[in-house]
Subunit: 611 residues, 2 copies
């Protein structure tokens, strides 16, 4: 790396500054000063260090670059313009409705693997990619550019911890320490030693540099990959670097320059600016491509009707089964694998299992990293602990990432552990993710079949599983299409359609049998697909029961199955009555709690009679 | 502290172990081994160190104790039994539906300030309490007992960072490093030096001890409060300590002992056990009580009809206004104060403002800490960044904590910054919190009035504010009761009831005016109270428009205003049609995005005509 032309790189850095200023001034908004602080680092990475094919950003052995400080998006776009991948004039469309150059990067752009802009998430994704490179025996490296402000996010330290434990020397974090946050100076300012101590205590190799000294940048990057630790480059920079009247000044975050200010700034930068177009970029090594093809089908299952199997255990069985047929499947755990049964997969396929410890945010971020590298990651923990990672799940939705989540121990039916461990809001959360699929099996067969579909279906999918054992009610051949629902009881004279899922479905079936003996008919529907909802099936059944529906769910009344059914069917004139967890529950026996909230067969019978 | 009888404390520790084992064996579930590892630490804290009135756990100058590792609940209950506060025989009711001794602590018990059990949250609450002690000029100290497993949670490091920055020498973390997590050994095992380096890098004083050596424990606690740093006691312990056949063995997490195992264990512990009842406990100092009385009323507001004011700015105005009249009000920020306008409060009342930097989980935890000490904390950031803290908000709900959240920049109407910055799921999330209140003002007057109510109303409250300026449409005297709704347009011949809030309400009003010119009447309702919903007002209006309702919201279609209205009114036969953000949005001008999703006046007019 001794022959790198640092003068060229300095020139390209100023060109990136100019393009970032021009684009944000044209847009009338954006973060040009956050681009300027990192411009030297990005110029050195793209044009003097990283190995990638600039014509094919998705090439499997390209070095990866994640702009964790997503508000510096114009800098990223400028870099790709200077590689020649996008035309420079397109930068003027920044932040426009008709442009893919959004205010923060999203994977609408082929060079953005994931959406960034919700701070503190990029390093977790980088850990996933670095782990994936190892699994695939590829030598690409993953570079994550972080802002200093986002280092206050705990998710950064969750990621740092896992990277250190796994000795990911193919992962490089670069922290743009420009001293200024949005509304205030950052807590650590330019105290690089403080950052150094923190990263070192999490198992990282550290390098402190002047982030505007190209020789120092080039030198430190030349030593990437040495040793067995991840590397963090701590770069002292200035916000607005290169613009004399803005550099290192407060009050310039998230503010585009006026036309006059932009002209003045560009006049300062122009003399030393130099286009990167035509500048050589190091090519990636040629290595065998990873095998990321889905199998033709997954192995069959062999349950018997009446077998008592918890859906959480069926999830574990399915993970093992489809993992054996599908090399893309990887599993991630948050130290609950003996409760979620993901340990079945670990025992057989340890190389595809990542123990993330009790750090759910990072677990989801790492899963996203695997997903964007072609894997099908299943991350599992108690459903309610996915609330901890909800921002990461939200951003996985924006990234349209192929992330699979399985949440166990839902509802009051977990019993004695009490409300802090009960998943009572997970349907509400998971429904509110862009493009998500929410599945809620009631028996082992449907749980396994839905797992097959999750593995095949693109996008964020959530499987809601229960703690108690429930009987198998479906044959092994039954199909469970996403967006479907199953009518399990129906007669010509039914008075009401009961829609349930999970443990309440079994209670509804018991209620139907008991009511039948009293001469009262009810339709019972298994709403295993909550999003998309099996709307047509439910509507058709409802119309045969005088448009009266009763939903019964082991979930809070807000945002769950009942609201989903009401929200979809109310417009058609269906009257939806809801039974669910109506207030803060407490510890107790599962059957006591189900009875307390009217979720058991007796409660359903009472409600049906009242209606 | 030289006269502490360490032999007594050792005996009490074993008594706590015995009681923990008996209670969990009686319950048939629980975590006795996690109690045993921390028993010496808890015995020393309660009976040899902390200053508190055991007859009055809520006394304002008592030292505070937070059991962050909430699964060791039986140990906490045993300690309070040994102080004499609860009868020992009550411990046999552990985990029963008719008992307040839940599987994990909740504030149903007067000695549990907050619910714990979702790991990694206790230290943030402790930071809030320690800051509150300073504000109130009280000398109580806050002790947080953490497990080693939960130190993988990033939230712990967010809290550690803020404690270090604020030099909280009245905060003491005690980490029970028993080496074993739920499903595996912890990542750092018994490497106490690794913990030491991490905490030191975050600005803490550290002490490493043998957590089963009472002399060492007593000695290190005697030096609490020295210097100007928070102190962490890193205690090497063994899971199941004191039980020869279980101690330090894997496979014993979350498992009650059988009767026979319990008898064997107790036989080992009994000879050296000693009751704590009658043992002296240090009394707290007598200091003036904090002034936490609410004012008789808040100052009036003086907007003019038609004034253009963003509701986010009205939030900032309200915070300043009520903060001036109410000493209980404190404010917390996640480095967005210049966008949320909480900086107005900072400028006037810096001593009641905590800058939490970009660490939303900790911000909510700190707010919870203030809340349980009698303050009325308002934490604000962009609405979508509360997704980062959703688990903390969930637990604040379980704690019935008086936490106030204000989320700005909601919906596609923020425009160019793009989807990562848009609050599109916040209503769904906040509705799904136990006991929560969700408010969504449309103009400055309603925003201010709702802030008055939030400050007076107990429990988790969320205020949803918008970025664009909107006209004032209410007089300064208008009242906005929680659970109400306002009918803003209504004639005798209306065809449909349009329910809206925030920016869409103004579009609905424009639509009503335009439709009126065409001879089409619509009822327009401001649903400023989303939870509890102004159900009666909306139902009464709907019944006058042939039971047809159209909801229009700048939020995803799932779990938002539309689902709330459908979920509440569908049973009454109301047909609810929904317009909202139906897929993943992108950057663009606010008006383009509103038009794209049919949320503007033209879209509403089209939809009304189609219906």
């Amino acid at each position: 790396m001794n022959d790198i032309d640092t003068e060229s790189l300095k020139g390209i850095a100023n060109q990136l500054r100019i393009l970032s200023i021009q684009a944000t001034t044209a847009a009338g908004s954006g973060h040009p000063t956050s681009c300027c602080s990192a411009a030297d680092l990005v110029a050195a990475l793209f044009f003097g260090h990283m190995r990638f094919d600039p014509k094919n950003p998705h090439y499997y052995n390209n070095d990866r670059f994640i702009l964790s400080k997503g508000h510096a998006a114009p800098l990223l776009y400028a870099a790709w313009a200077e590689t020649g991948f996008i035309p420079e004039e397109k930068l003027a469309t920044l932040r426009r409705f008709d442009s893919d150059l959004e205010g923060h990067p999203t994977p609408r752009l082929p060079f953005a693997d994931v959406a960034t802009g919700s701070l503190g998430q990029g390093l977790s994704v980088g850990v996933g990619m670095a782990l994936c490179a190892r699994l695939d025996q590829l030598d690409y490296r993953t570079y994550v550019l972080l802002g200093d402000g986002e280092c206050s996010e705990g998710s950064v330290w969750e990621a740092a911890s896992l990277a250190g434990l796994n000795q990911l020397n193919n992962l490089i974090a670069v922290v743009d320490i420009n001293r200024l946050g949005q509304s205030d100076p950052t807590p650590l300012g330019h105290n690089l030693d403080a950052y150094k101590r923190r990263f070192e205590s999490f198992g990282w190799r550290t390098e402190e540099i002047d982030g505007h000294d190209m020789d120092e940048i080039v030198e430190v990057l030349a030593a990437v990959g040495l040793g067995n630790q991840p590397l963090v480059v701590l770069a002292k920079t200035f916000k607005g670097a290169g613009i004399s009247f803005i550099q290192d000044k407060e009050g310039w975050h998230g503010r585009a320059l006026s036309k006059e200010e932009a002209e003045r700034a560009i006049a300062e930068l122009r003399p030393s600016a130099r286009s990167g177009i035509g500048h050589p970029i190091a090519a990636p090594n040629q290595l065998p491509a990873p095998k990321n093809d889905p199998p033709a089908q997954y192995p069959a299952i062999t349950y018997k009707l009446g077998d008592m199997v918890a859906t959480r255990e069926a999830f574990g069985n399915a993970l093992l089964r489809i993992g054996g047929a599908d090399n893309r499947v990887v599993a991630l755990d948050g130290d609950t694998k003996n409760s979620t049964y993901s340990e079945k997969f670990l025992k057989k396929y340890p190389e595809r299992f990542t123990e993330c410890y009790i750090a759910e945010q990072n677990m989801v971020g790492v899963a996203t990293g695997f997903a964007v590298r072609g894997k099908v990651p299943f991350a599992s923990t108690f459903a309610t602990f996915f609330t901890r990672a909800f921002d990461q799940i939200r951003v996985a939705g924006i990234s349209r990432a192929n992330v699979k989540l399985a949440g166990s121990h839902v509802g009051v039916s977990i019993g004695e552990d009490g409300p802090s461990q009960m998943g009572l809001e997970d349907i509400a959360l998971m429904r509110a993710v862009a493009g998500s699929t929410v599945l809620y099996p009631s028996d082992a067969v449907s749980a396994e079949k839905l797992m097959d579909l999750m593995a095949s279906h693109q996008g964020v999918c959530f499987l809601r599983t229960s703690r108690p054992k429930t009987p198998v009610i479906y044959s092994n051949e039954e199909a469970f299409p996403i967006g479907g629902a199953k009518v399990l009881r129906q007669t010509a004279n039914d008075n009401i359609t009961v829609v349930a899922a999970g443990v309440t479905l079994h209670e509804a079936l018991k209620a139907a049998d008991a009511l039948k003996n009293e001469g009262i008919g009810i339709t019972v529907i298994d709403a295993y697909s909550v999003k998309p909802l099996g709307k047509d099936v439910i509507l058709a059944a409802a119309q045969k029961t005088n448009n009266v529906v009763l939903t019964v769910e082991d979930h809070y009344l807000e945002g769950g199955l009942g609201d989903a059914v009401a929200g979809e069917l109310s417009a058609a004139g269906v009257r939806v009555h809801k039974v669910g967890v109506s207030d803060l529950p407490r510890s107790g026996k599962p059957e006591e709690l189900l009875a307390h909230y009217g979720l058991d067969a007796q409660g359903i019978i009472r409600k049906v009679k009242a209606l």
